[in-house]
């Protein structure tokens, strides 16, 4: 029998992580994500896992990467300022191909901003926050149920693609409580990183398998010796400046995700078949947007709804196929216009794209998005 709980979004993230096999959490207190650390502190030792409160945000992600190198599924959680502080080591995990999950419960920015209020101002930071090229996987939950399920997805994607995966939650989703249906353990799909099949003396740590461009990963302590470095490295994991080796490594980092985009992207649609307008919204705003779209439909307006669940990679093809007959695409978001840029790229001029930003710390009200629809209609 599946269990039913009434959980906060942050609780569901922590419990989803444990269900996914996370056994290490490194954290630092920050509003509005601290509940995730607090719950991990309670729950992880009960399942033989390890929780550590580190001295700062940078230390917490560093410890998480270390634990993952030692074979643990590991996670850290933070918000705006902490997400900024973690960026360098997020890049280290991209370069060294170490799977980790980073949760950012978005609050108002820039800087210390609005610690207890919602925003979606970190969407582009999630994509490009760390320096250097990489392909980003970022998931945005819109309900407490999704906080649970997408955290499991985040671990599975991270293990499969050997890279950081970002769960881009927000203050509304993180702090609201809703019913969660907990699936029975065995029905939860679990992906574990590929382990080397060769003997330790034959192990070439960054030699990718041709079928997926991803090298099998040994853990420190399980008999293999290898070198991890944030410098550009060859297949042996040793630093190199060789142009060909460098070119091939960086392109592979991008390609290993890019070629499986079709399997990674997730989205949700409503009433798009006959729509001449589509509202694109994600995270907590998608709930307001859906409410406004229902209202508009009840008033006879032909409005559809599209919700990217993976913000990165953005579901470009999935949006494109809905565009026949669509004259306008509306993008309400809690920032000054970030995802609207990606939507414009996806739409390629086939419809007019209208953005509407809100940065006052509140969630859009349904009437505000309904008015937006009426203005454009």
């Amino acid at each position: 029998m599946p269990e039913i709980r009434f959980w906060q979004g942050n609780t569901a993230v922590a419990m989803g992580a444990i269900a996914a096999g996370c056994r290490f959490f490194g954290g630092y207190p920050i509003t509005p994500s601290s509940e995730i650390a607090e719950i991990m502190a309670v729950e992880l030792p009960k399942v033989g896992g390890k929780f550590i409160q580190m001295e700062d945000e940078i230390g917490s992600i560093a410890a998480v990467i270390g634990a993952s190198i030692a074979g643990y599924k590991a996670m850290t959680a933070t918000s705006g300022p902490g997400f900024s502080l973690k960026q360098e080591n997020i890049g280290f995990a991209y370069m060294t191909e170490v799977p980790i999950v980073v949760v950012n419960v978005m609050r108002g920015g820039p800087s210390t901003g609005l610690p207890t209020k919602v925003s979606q101002q970190d969407v582009m930071q999630a994509r490009w926050g760390t320096h250097g090229d990489h392909e980003t996987i970022a998931l945005a939950p819109a309900s407490v149920q999704e906080c649970y399920e997408l955290t499991i997805d985040a671990f599975n994607l991270s293990e499969r693609f050997r890279q950081p995966v970002i769960l881009l939650s927000d203050e509304v989703v993180g702090h609201m409580r809703e019913k969660v249906v907990i699936p029975e353990g065995e029905s939860i799909p679990i992906v574990n990183r590929k382990k080397p099949k060769v003997k330790p003396e034959d192990y070439i740590p960054y030699k990718p398998d041709p079928e997926d461009d991803i090298p099998p990963m040994a853990s420190f302590g399980d008999g293999y010796r290898w070198h991890v470095t944030g410098l550009t490295h060859n297949e042996w994991g040793f630093p190199t400046n060789d142009p060909d080796v460098t070119e091939s490594k960086i392109w592979r980092l991008v390609r290993k995700v890019d070629r499986f985009k079709g399997e990674i992207v997730k989205c949700d649609t409503y009433e798009t078949q006959d729509a001449d307008m589509i509202v694109v919204a994600y995270g907590s705003v998608s709930r307001t947007a859906l409410s406004a779209v229902r209202e508009a439909r009840s008033k006879g307006l032909k409005v559809g709804f599209f919700r990217p669940i993976t913000l990165w990679p953005f579901p470009v093809d999935e949006l494109k196929v809905l565009l026949d007959g669509v004259k306008a695409v509306l993008v309400p978001e809690l920032n000054c216009g970030q995802m609207v840029l990606e939507v414009q790229r996806a739409v390629e001029g086939r419809a007019k794209v209208f953005g509407k930003g809100l940065v006052n710390g509140d969630l859009f009200r349904p009437s505000e998005i309904f008015e937006f629809i009426k203005e454009v209609a």
């Binding site: 039913i4 709980r5 009434f6 610690p115 207890t116 509304v172 702090h175 609201m176 409580r177 809703e178 019913k179 907590s284 709930r287 307001t288 859906l290 409410s291 229902r294 969630l363 009200r365 349904p366 009437s367």
Partner: protein, 186 residues
Amino acid sequence: MGDQRYEIRIAGSGGQGVILAAVIVGEALALYEEGLNVVQTQAYGPEARGGASKAEVVVSRSRIDYPKVTSPNLQVILTQKACDKYVHDALPGSVVIVDDFFVTEPPKVDAKVYSLPIVRTAREEVGREIVTNMVALGAVARVLESWELAKPESIRKAILDRVPKGTEELNLKAFELGYGLMKEKL
């Protein structure tokens, strides 16, 4: 209740336990009543004590999209500051319960306003002001019962899930007194 959406708000100052009260209402409706969708949210400032804070519950038999309250059917307001800040968006004809000690200016809204001795009951009848939120919950329970939305027993169960061991009797006493206060009116 059909597909109707009900919005409940409990507001006061930090430290009065308004968030816990709303969480208990949410848990009671979600876990101890059949077939209800429930979302509980809160708004709070940086201060753990003082300031104005509110916690809300939205409940419906159909899916809840927008998770926050826009025009509450029921409000319980425990301080003047919270009253000034939040009460104005009351649904016309809705129920507004205010504490008769801290809310000195009755709100001018199109609603049925009940001024109840919530804080005084906690302080004088139970002897512990800390159970103010439980008295408030009792009043909420009576309103939800009158709307046939929840049985008081569901809220009692949710209280017992949440309060520290050894304090059950105290909290339930406060709850019953609050229920009684509202039962006289509604």
